[in-house]
């Protein structure tokens, strides 16, 4: 399957691929949470568990030349994009073998090879940057797309609105992916937005938009492929609202006082991994053996990333001030 087709083809290899990609994120993050308890990972750790279908679905529609701008809950996008698991894990360990030499940590995964531009931890701050990347592509006549991931909380920021307007005004090839998980940290959508139908905000800027079930990886992939096809056809930006839910706390410091256990349980019934697995098994596309094999491979990959990170090295303090500015020839 090429990245430019505008419909998913649910062949056995593709279904296995979707399942594997979601499970990689899930198992990686479960291990990350354990490592956090063991104090191997510090700082903020925002888990994507529950939302895997969004990153995995959207990435299927993107090509190698396209760019990604993400927010601070970006392990899922990074892994689905092809940033090495070793690099992401070592980054969270703060080791210099990490994807950002350990300088960024969990919230600032960057990877030039896969055109992954962070890991932006200022809510809304990535949107103007995505607009600019797309502007550069348009001015240089490169047929690329910039996908920008952000939560529904970003819709309250001025930069959201400025970016919608700029992207529409200049007809830029941006795929805005709103991961609407219903809570901006602990503040529910209904008590922070007068219009809770987020994708309508994009429409008010004449940005074509669609809302999709973000717990259904196939639906997300199909919608993302339609969106990318429209962008390539020159229709300007597209806004994809993926309705999803995070199963875990906002970060490792969150007692989750703002939502009920019943609500969390209800959403867990819609787990994107369980859903794809059940459908694919019922369709006889995959079997228990396949799942066991995938789980074994992923467990080995996750363990390898932990071993890699444990064996990683601390950057010498003598290098503290490197990478603040670009080394220049002395003029």
């Amino acid at each position: 399957m090429t990245a430019r087709e505008d419909k998913p083809h649910l062949t056995r290899p593709h279904v296995l691929h979707l399942l594997r990609e979601m499970l990689r994120i899930r198992r990686f993050e479960e291990r990350s949470a354990e490592l956090y308890q063991q104090e191997k990972i510090r700082g903020f750790l925002h888990l994507y568990i529950g939302e895997e279908a969004v990153a995995v679905g959207v990435m299927q529609a993107l090509g190698a030349d396209d760019a990604i701008v993400a927010t601070y809950r970006e392990h899922g996008q990074a892994l689905a994009r092809g940033v090495s698991m070793n690099g992401v894990m070592a980054e969270m360990y703060g080791k210099q073998e990490g994807s950002s030499r350990g300088r960024g940590g969990s919230m600032h995964i960057f990877d030039a090879k896969t055109r992954f531009y962070g890991g932006n931890a200022i809510v809304g701050g990535g949107l103007p940057i995505a607009v600019g990347l797309a502007l550069a592509d348009k001015m240089q006549r490169r047929p690329r797309v910039t996908a920008c991931f952000f939560g529904e909380g970003a819709a309250a920021e001025g930069e959201f609105h400025e970016s919608m307007n700029l992207a529409a005004l200049w007809r830029l090839p941006v795929l805005f992916v709103c991961e609407n998980n219903l809570y901006a940290m602990g503040t529910a959508l209904a008590i922070s937005e007068s219009e809770t139908d987020i994708h309508l905000k994009a429409q008010s800027y004449r940005v074509a938009s669609e809302a999709v079930d973000g717990m259904d990886v196939v639906a997300v992939e199909a919608a993302a492929r339609r969106a990318v096809a429209a962008i390539h056809a020159g229709a300007g930006p597209f806004f994809l609202e993926c309705r999803t839910y995070r199963f875990r706390a906002h970060s490792m410091f969150d007692a989750q006082l703002y939502r009920s256990k019943a609500e969390i349980e209800a959403w867990k019934q819609r787990c994107p991994i369980a859903r794809l697995t059940a459908w694919a098994k019922a369709s006889s596309l995959i079997h228990d053996d396949d799942i066991a094999a995938i789980e074994r491979e992923i467990a080995a990959e996750v363990q390898a990333s932990v071993d890699f990170s444990e064996a990683g090295t601390w950057e010498p303090v003598a290098e503290l001030c490197r990478d603040v500015t670009t080394p220049r020839e002395v003029r």
């Binding site: 701050g125 949107l127 103007p128 995505a130 607009v131 910039t146 400025e162 700029l166 500015t325 670009t326």
Partner: protein
């Protein structure tokens, strides 16, 4: 890159505004990745008429009018720089740059570091700064000193026609974000420069007047007030040396200290407010590096601690002026 203003024999007369425009035009001609973006830069011709005429010459893609979305278009400049362009983003005045401070501080200045050196941001942001036009408290402040606080960016303050003409090209060649502050009172300044004036260095402070008795350290619009004060001091037999900082970050400590070690006295003239200012930083560095050379306390002439008022007499009173510079210098030399 050429490091010194070229000493052509042919001279031309132009304004500071013309010099900036010539620099932008040349950058656009030389490199197709360069474009100018900002509020009213195109059809209006620029709030201070710097870009007047460029739209006709280069078209709306490269002389790009933006909506009033400072954070949006500065962030877009960052993205465009990441995407291989060489944007010149104009923020109408430094006062409005508070609306895009997030992008400048949290994105432009940090992405290289946060990415472990993978991504540099070759972006130039130009802003007008300074008071003196009775524009009151939301259009008159000098906040360039704040920006000099931020690691990861370079801060330039061209005070002369040569620097107005020559700093932009060097800034565009820099792989990191560069902020250029143009003092509003300088746009009308007229003078002669070499017809073939070109890129200048952006690493060194410059001695604008040599003297043995005291170092007057300043930058931007205050340079001309300080030169005027120096003439008056000369009449009193006090020979002041004037250091034009030119680049507020990184500061050229070597040139500052060399001058202070020679004159053994220093007064800093800074259009920012005194508290927590660039002048405080320079005074601290002089004390750290030249304490044993000093013969007098360091003096400072800064803007009064007040939002800039509208009436002319109060605005003038709020700002550093030649008489206050003369008084501070005389106090330092005990004459």
């Amino acid at each position: 890159m050429n490091v010194a203003p070229t000493a052509g024999t042919q001279k031309i007369t132009l304004t500071y505004r013309d010099a900036v425009k010539a620099a932008i035009r040349e950058a656009l001609q030389r490199d197709e990745r360069v474009f100018l973006m900002g509020e009213d830069v195109g059809r209006y011709g620029g709030c201070y008429a710097v870009s007047k005429g460029l739209l006709d010459e280069f078209g709306p893609d490269r002389i790009r009018d933006t909506p009033l979305s400072e954070s949006g278009f500065v962030g877009a400049g960052i993205g465009a720089a990441l995407g291989g362009m060489r944007p010149i983003v104009e923020v109408m005045t430094v006062n409005f740059s508070m609306l895009c401070l997030d992008q400048i501080l949290n994105s432009a200045a940090t992405i290289r570091h946060m990415s472990g050196g993978q991504f540099s941001i070759p972006l130039v942001i130009r802003m007008a700064t300074g008071a003196g036009r009775q524009l009151a408290a939301q259009h008159s402040h000098s906040l360039e000193g704040w920006y000099a606080h931020i690691p990861g960016i370079r801060v330039l303050t061209p005070a002369t026609l040569e620097d107005a003409r020559g700093m932009l090209a060097t800034a565009l060649a820099d792989p990191d974000p560069v902020l250029i502050f143009e003092n509003v009172l300088l746009y009308h300044m007229t003078g002669e420069i070499a017809a073939d004036a070109g890129p200048v260095d952006i690493d060194r402070a410059a001695i604008r007047r040599a003297g043995r008795d005291i170092s007057l350290i300043t930058y931007g619009g205050s340079l001309w007030k300080t030169l005027k004060a120096a003439e008056e001091l000369a009449g009193l037999g006090i020979e002041a040396e004037i250091v034009d900082l030119r680049t507020l970050r990184p500061l050229d400590d070597a040139t500052i200290m060399q001058s202070v070690r020679k004159t053994r006295r220093a007064v800093i003239v800074d259009e920012g407010w005194k508290t927590g200012s660039l002048s405080a930083e320079i005074a601290a560095r002089i004390v750290e590096q030249c304490f044993w050379s000093l013969d007098a306390p360091i003096g400072r002439v800064c803007t009064a601690e007040v939002p800039i008022p509208y009436p002319k007499h109060l605005e003038d009173a709020a700002l550093p002026q030649p008489p206050a510079i003369v008084a501070a210098a005389r106090a330092a030399v005990w004459r």
